[in-house]
Symmetry: C2
Subunit: 543 residues, 2 copies
């Protein structure tokens, strides 16, 4: 992940040695500084104008003198120019924050911009959640009448607070003053970026779905009250459209999809499922609402991957024992996306969930052990069947952790949407799944998901498991890359230029494929040769 | 004075016609705007990066939509980039303020940046005067211990208030909203510029006399609370050193000295006397304290050119009548620089002031009319001789307007300094006064002075009067030029690069020449063949 030093971080330090002024050479201090820097600039920067932002002048002048005209200049490396922003001692670190700005969750790292080392890591909630769980409700809050700018300003203030909290934690953890954080990169979906910048998201969710801005120019951190160095450039990963944000560009960067010779695919499931297909020669992408059930947004027991979340489920069908794993091994309080996929896949293979994704009311077949298991776990609440994953006495909150049919339905819609997205996308360019060299799976989803289980459900294509590669929080990794490398910053813009984006909201084919995918594994089982198919028998037909 | 339209004002309007977004073309609004502008940019700008400052985004997005994607973009034309800052209707004017930022006095014009027309003109005091009349006392106030930043901040706030007052007057006079003022250029001496920008002037007056900055980059008006459009670029005329400010660069620009084939000279007397010699191939300059007596700073009756100031004096030596002219023809309240020069020259020719610049105690010669005139006007106050210019009963304030010996002494030092500066400068490059094609005289001094009288005093070289050309407030005119023309902005920087600056504070030759110049017209009368020389006789010798 660590780019070469020659790859030009967003902020660099330049060694400066200048002669003190004399009567024979009494040009202004900042002109002296500018000239000295121009001499020591890397060749790649020598063509760019060297500017001094207004806010920097007084401090620069003072510190340059205090240091007796020798030390290190801090330079913001912008595309069209280089800004001289500070003058520091050699020992002072130059760090930047990479931020994954999620709708529900923020994750950030503190990066040493000279070495590329990760100095600290933290995460926390996006406190905008209090104003609406999903993107649409946030847009509504920001743009509702009679509130006008206020809603927008509130949401901006709240997310800036959330970010400042992380910044404080990062600085504390690394033992650094916040002022020594001299850059920030932000990877987020288009709506989150608009709200962070205080820009109206009104048109994002209205046909024809146009953002106010896709590629904002870098701006000083002080403009939005980020508690880092006021002149730190904030570099926003460019987005491509309302539903295709910088977080995915970041993922493409981190996965290196835009540099690969062979056709590959990137799947990122956050609040939306976002999918990119392509290689260094071409890229095509689409996004759709496949995420909520997998991100804790819909399932009643659902939750984000966090302590007490069931993330792994195995059902031993010889002994009919349910083996669950929670994050941090603490008592279960809910189930996260990967746990849900595991669970439903296992229940399908155990024929407790049928191919339509329904809990099977009558499953009085199989061994006695199986029947005992089913009686213990499958309960009719009067309001429908419920599968008890963890009974009240073993849970972390004193209530049972259950899977209700409604949760299952949401999960089925998500998995159907996901597969429909993947097939729609490949069919657009005539690529077969078997042609894919690699499928990168990003996000918390990608980190925890077991591709075999997702294949069982018909969520991911039935390919050799080695095709799948989890790349973790690629949105965050991409943000780290743009902090560290000008080439990455250029790539992020180039990706926007060469990617073709398919709007699924208006795609007929997608809707047809979505319907076909609402079975386990699929209405056409031939697509999933590795998955056993259990015909719906008459007993469960009654359900 | 009006440059061609093709010369690129600091802020321009670019016509924009863009298609409204559709599902087939739903790129972000600001990307749409940027693309449309890129298409319509003048070829000279097509190489520059098109940026959108953070503060501009929200308003740009809103207005671009309100205008249904057709209208005029407002562009800040910077050297290394073009900033898109607003979107307006065709009818809305785009104006800029040119400011001559003097130590005692401010003068400003409102300029239509499209047509080059001057829309309004005003002037007023620099209210920093309350904190110190001259540059040194301002520097002291700004940097005195126990006050530290406070003194500097106070002086900055006060000059910004003074400027905002002028801006208000200009806007009112032109019937424009201050927000439609979208650019500002400032021409001032190095200290005034430092104080305006809130930069410490500490080293300006201490060897080796280095400014903190000579060439500040343009910055948004809001940075220093100027009450014009917040994103209006403020363009500071570059200075060359502590004692050689942007006001003189501005004068060179306005006079066109840097473009002339023949060697010429520019003299600007403000608080300092600043002189430039050269042509399009070379420029040499120096500055010295020759001004105070001529600017109302020292002479007890001295005042700036303003209503009631005696600006012209003629003594009819046939009838021994004193003919005085005041500004606005109001009763006299004081005397300004040009009046003082006139008066002393006339008194010298009348042998009431001798060649050493002393009022002559015993002048009992000549006609009865002359003797009567002398008795009436030359009075011994017990504290020395005083020449009554206007008696109490005819003055504007009920006291006589007089010339005391102390005023005369200050005037003599100023005139000696001026001539010494001119000769030191020409001798540096081996140019004779007679070689000069033209001598431009700038400032209020240049506007009102009668070169014949200044020659009589030995203040200006004894050349044909047609050599002299008054160019008015060239500091202000230069500021107007940089508002209107990129070529002028480039010239102003180039001048700084090619000018040789002579520091008179450390120049031995200057001191020798200064001593030689403390006579009327000079210790060497051969230098002033047109001026009659009156030997000091024994009677006045006693004085």
């Amino acid at each position: 992940m660590k780019p070469e030093t020659s790859s030009l971080p967003l902020v660099i330090r330049a060694p400066v040695t200048a002669e003190p002024p004399s009567l024979q050479d009494n040009i202004a201090d900042l002109d002296r500084l500018r000239t000295a820097i121009a001499r020591s600039l890397p060749p790649s920067l020598s063509e760019r104008a060297l500017c001094i932002p207004f806010q920097a002048m007084a401090g620069l002048g003072r510190r340059f003198r205090e240091a007796v005209f020798t030390g290190h200049a801090v330079l913001n490396v912008l595309r069209d120019r280089v800004e001289i922003v500070d003058f520091i001692e050699e020992s002072e670190p130059v760090a930047g924050v990479a931020l994954d700005l999620g709708t529900t969750h923020l994750e950030a790292t503190l990066v040493d911009l000279s070495s590329g080392d990760i100095l600290a890591h933290t995460h926390g909630p996006n406190r905008q959640m209090e104003y609406g769980a999903d993107i649409l409700s946030r847009i509504h809050f920001a743009t509702a009448k009679n509130m006008d700018q206020d809603g927008l300003q509130q949401l901006q203030a709240v997310v800036v607070q959330s970010i400042n909290q992380l910044i404080m934690e990062l600085a504390e953890s690394a033992g650094m003053a916040p002022e020594t954080i001299r850059a920030m990169s932000v990877s987020g979906n288009t709506t989150m970026v608009h709200l962070l910048l205080g820009l109206s998201p009104y048109h994002l969710c209205r046909e024809p779905y146009t953002p106010l801005v896709n590629s904002p120019d870098p701006f000083p951190a002080a403009e939005i009250d980020l508690q880092i160095n006021p002149l730190a450039p904030v570099w926003i990963l460019p987005s491509i459209g309302s539903y295709f944000g910088g977080d995915l560009i970041s993922g493409i960067l981190a996965g290196g999809l835009d540099q690969l010779e062979e056709t590959s695919m990137l799947i990122d499931v956050g609040t939306n499922a976002e999918v990119v297909l392509g290689s260094r020669d071409w890229l095509i992408a689409c996004a759709g609402a496949a995420g909520p059930a997998l991100e804790g947004g819909v399932a009643r027991m659902g939750m984000r991957a966090g302590p007490g979340a069931i993330e792994r489920v195995r059902l031993d069908r010889d002994n009919w024992r349910l083996d669950i794993g929670t994050i941090d091994d603490t008592p279960a309080v809910g189930i996260c996306g990967s746990g849900l996929i595991d669970l439903v896949a296992e229940l399908y293979l155990a024929r407790i969930v049928d191919l339509r994704g329904k809990l099977c009311r009558d499953t009085g077949f199989g061994s006695a052990k199986r029947q005992k298991f089913v009686r213990k776990h499958l309960v009719d609440t009067g309001d429908g069947l419920v599968f008890i994953i963890v009974p009240a006495e073993n849970s972390g909150h004193g209530s049972p952790v259950v899977l209700a049919q409604v949760d299952l339905d949401a999960m089925m819609r998500s998995k159907a949407a996901m597969y429909a997205i993947l097939t729609t996308l490949t069919s657009q360019v005539g690529v077969e799944f078997a042609d894919l060299a690699r499928i990168y799976v990003a996000g918390a989803f990608g980190k925890h998901i077991d591709p075999a289980q997702a294949i069982t459900l018909g969520m991911l294509p039935d390919l050799p498991l080695t095709t799948y590669k989890s790349i973790g929080n690629s949105s965050l990794h991409g943000a780290e890359l743009v902090l560290l490398s000008e080439e990455a910053r250029k790539r992020s813009r180039d990706i926007g230029g060469k990617i073709t984006y398919i709007e699924l909201n208006v795609n007929q084919e997608f809707m047809i494929r979505f319907s076909g995918s609402r079975f386990i594994p699929h209405t056409d089982p031939a697509l999933f040769p590795s998955v056993p198919v259990f015909r719906v028998d008459s007993s469960s037909e009654k359900a």
